[in-house]
């Protein structure tokens, strides 16, 4: 990832925006698909970089002797957050704020469910620290 890539992404976004404005006059459906496509494309472009960051996190966790299960849970939570955000923003762009809110709610609930093992562990540790 070099500095030139941000110029490419901004250019892609600008071109997509112009095309959306042009097409929206005639057929709003096609404008919406352009929006979805551009979003997915930029996300695809970024996911390679996210992979590098995550590999670094994993190697850090391995060096620090952290249990890999916890790192995996955290990564899954980040993934859920990304996907939920992506979907919710697209749906909200299409004018369905109610469905977007439900997607976000589902994302939050799933994250909470995934965090339950970690939360129980924290609570158990705190309880063990407390004098009886």
């Amino acid at each position: 990832m070099s500095a030139i890539d941000i110029i490419q992404i901004v250019g892609l976004g600008l071109i997509a925006t112009f095309l959306v404005i042009v097409v929206k006059e005639q057929k709003p459906v096609f404008a919406f698909t352009i929006t979805v496509f551009t979003g997915a494309l930029i996300f695809l472009y970024l996911i390679g970089e996210i992979q590098h960051i995550i590999q670094m996190l994993e190697s850090l966790a391995a060096k620090a002797n952290v249990d890999l299960v916890y790192v995996e849970t955290v990564l899954k939570i980040i993934g859920i957050a990304y996907i939920a955000e992506f979907g919710a923003q697209i749906v909200r762009d299409a004018g369905q704020g109610a469905i977007a809110s439900k997607i976000e709610l589902a994302g939050k609930l799933l994250i909470l469910t995934m965090a339950i093992p970690i939360l129980t562990l924290i609570i158990e540790t705190v309880l063990r620290l407390l004098p009886a």
Binding site: L12, L19, V23, Q26, T33, I34, F37, T38, L44, G79
Partner: protein, 68 residues
């Protein structure tokens, strides 16, 4: 990346052409055909979008350890 960017122009082009066909067919009085043209154009575009969304979701699955 380069190949994928072309798809944006393809979608916009299909949108404009379908809009033109819709208008022409409507002027000719074939309103039903106009709606079918719109629907088929939309399905073609949707296929392109779904392909890249599938790609994206598979990549996200791989990156964020979603194998389970």
């Amino acid at each position: 990346m380069n190949h994928d960017v072309n798809t944006i122009f393809q979608i916009a082009g299909i949108g404009i052409i379908v809009a033109m066909l819709h208008t022409i067919l409507k002027q000719m009085g074939k309103e039903e055909y106009a709606h079918w043209v719109t629907l088929i154009g939309f399905i073609v575009v949707l296929y392109m979008v779904i392909t890249i969304i599938d790609d994206l979701f598979q990549k996200i699955r791989g990156v964020f350890l979603f194998q389970g």
